[in-house]
Symmetry: C2
Subunit: 354 residues, 2 copies
DNA sequence: AACTTTTGCTTAAACGTTTAAACAAAATAC
DNA sequence: GTATTTTGTTTAAACGTTTAAGCAAAAGTT
């Protein structure tokens, strides 16, 4: 009784959202005609189209996404999961994805795992809950168990991984050739005359970091340099970790003459330590980072780094998603697209002047 | 013709998602009964509830959120917009919001403006598009134009701001008393015997930073200290900016004996500079940060800071949202909740030993 | 003028839920 | 043993959109 009353009050106070029906009533046409007019259907006259759009604007009409998504069986939303938000690489990737997807009428729901496995799972859950049409993701550092990603696949919606992917998971993948990138870096350092090349790498269980480590090891071999255990360090690659691992390397009786760091952030930390200790870069120790973050060009000395082609990766990932949506049958063939990375040589490793 | 065919193929290949109807068919009951059983309606017998839930599990049933949201007229989603993802404060706030909201059946869509106005607008658009039931936001540093936030209000869904709010905008707000916080800090520094207290603050156009600056100025006055222009600096408050502004202060002929930095990150940068220059903290210069980030306790010397009660803010913001949802009429009265902050005194400012 | 085609709309069903209302059967009350 | 309440379910409509199918009128074709 009281409840009924308050409900009526609500109805009075809340200006009901205008629907397609309201527009139809104003113009004395059917809701179907309105819907078609709004979608520029060729079977609707220009006159009614104009009228409908005008009334829609007047009544402040906004389509009910839930209704159309339900009816069409797709939400036109794609979920993105990135491990971090503040890296130039990831934001570049996302931006170019967004560009491609928006053009095709898709909206994006961004989520960040912050490198945490739990958050990643939460992200997947909300994305599935909101009925996204697909998920494009890059895995958190922590993630080892992949059952949650399989949950996506079992729902039947496309999953595309980029950068931080996994070989086991049977999905499309876009990334750069990390193994080869290490080769390019080591080759460059050798050409600069370096003989004791250290590697501050990421954790081996992450595909890309493992590949960089393997590449480092194999490249040393190719150039007949010995692999010394004390020169190969795993780390979480934050600025602070870069400082710590660099300090660790400087404590060795036989310090390296070059350090290849698997992330620009950690490389920056390492550089800070070197500068504080008055160690000359690149003369005493040459330094190479990874990711081509903008700051690498801005610090002194500027840091040599690997350009990961974020725009290209984003574009390809988005296009792969669109391919899935446009194919009527479930695609069986997988897209594994591996781009070749590019070394941007800067002062931190330029011992031999050209 | 061909299209029809391919559609049929699709139907065959794609295992249709199981719906409430499928469960109903299996058990020979009505879909309505199934729906009620799944929601533990008191009018459904325990026996059928159990049976329904079992079948649901067997068929791998997942409720169609779009359908239920459409029918119920609410999505049970709440959008959150935070300026940054990596700050302890914001992640604490969000976590406690999530806790409160999940308990009441709400899911969260997190977005990050990354301090960019454009991204903030994009976030608002996608959130409105996904038909969230409300938005809880903290404004980007860049944001000056508030028309986009008014767009939310004009849609009739609740908007709750926290921390970075705005006086003009007629919305609920939860935050700490920044003005008073500055007073607490200045008082503390004066008690430690400091006479030239500098302030590295944020940009004045952001409410909270403006309040901190005003608080700093008024507190100086109260303690009969002169306000010196060269000691009051605006900045973006990153680590790097903290370094730069500290260096700027050290270039003065008459350097300060205390620095109050409006962010722990910038305070950390300042501390790095002080340590590099062998300036004793707190003996030569006392240092106070803001935000009580975990690292403030971990660096040497540990940094005195202001605890912003992130959990409390998150909880209150979530509760305010829930109040909106539960009230049948549109609430006119605004909630402005200002919490008192707490100074955590650590080594960086402890000149007078207790 | 008698047809076909095209144009511009309408009708009605569907998407998967929820929920008010109805109703039969069982349990309880008197 | 009839009246009333409670229990457990069904029916049917609704949420706002899209879309296949239908249909009348206009335009085009012989």
């Amino acid at each position: 009784m009281l409840k009924r009353l308050s409900k009526d009050i609500k109805k009075i106070i809340i200006k009901k959202k205008t629907t397609i029906k309201d527009i139809a009533n104003v113009l004395n046409i059917s809701p179907a005609a309105v819907s078609k007019a709004l979608h520029d259907d060729s079977r609707i006259s220009e006159k009614t189209k104009k009228a409908v759009k005008q009334v829609a604007k007047n009544l402040n009409y906004h389509p009910n996404h839930l209704a159309s998504a339900l009816r069409k069986g797709k939400s036109n939303l794609v979920g993105i999961i990135a491990p971090r938000t503040n890296s130039h690489f990831f934001s570049g990737v996302v931006q170019s994805m967004e560009e491609v997807l928006n053009k095709k009428g898709y909206n994006i729901i961004m989520t960040h795992s912050n490198e945490s496995y739990k958050k990643e799972c939460d992200n997947i859950d909300t994305l599935l809950y909101t009925q996204v049409d697909g998920i494009i993701a890059s895995m958190a550092n922590e993630t080892i168990d992949l059952s949650y990603f399989n949950k996506i696949k079992s729902k039947g919606i496309p999953l595309i991984l980029f950068d931080r992917g996994e070989n086991d998971l049977n999905v499309d993948y876009i990334g750069i050739d990390d193994y080869k990138s290490s080769h390019i870096i080591v080759k460059h350092l050798v050409e600069q005359g370096c003989k004791r090349i250290a590697h501050i790498g990421g954790y081996k269980h992450t595909r890309i970091f493992n590949n960089r480590i393997r590449g480092y090891i194999d490249a040393l071999k190719e150039h007949n340099l010995p692999l010394e255990e004390e020169l190969l360090i795993e780390s979480s690659l934050s600025i602070e970790e870069g400082r710590k691992k660099m300090e660790q390397l400087l404590k060795l009786k036989d310090i390296p003459d070059a350090v290849y760091v698997a992330s620009d952030y950690a490389a920056l930390g390492a550089l800070q330590v070197l500068k504080e200790r008055q160690i000359k870069v690149p003369e005493d120790i040459a330094l190479v980072g990874f990711g081509n973050e903008p700051f690498t060009a801005m610090v002194t000395p500027s840091i040599t780094s690997i350009n990961q082609h974020s725009e290209e990766i984003g574009k390809l990932a988005a296009k792969t998603f669109l391919e899935h949506m446009n194919s009527t049958v479930i695609k069986q063939s997988l897209n594994k697209k591996i781009l070749e990375a590019e070394l941007i040589i800067r002062d931190s490793s330029k011992k031999v002047k050209a």
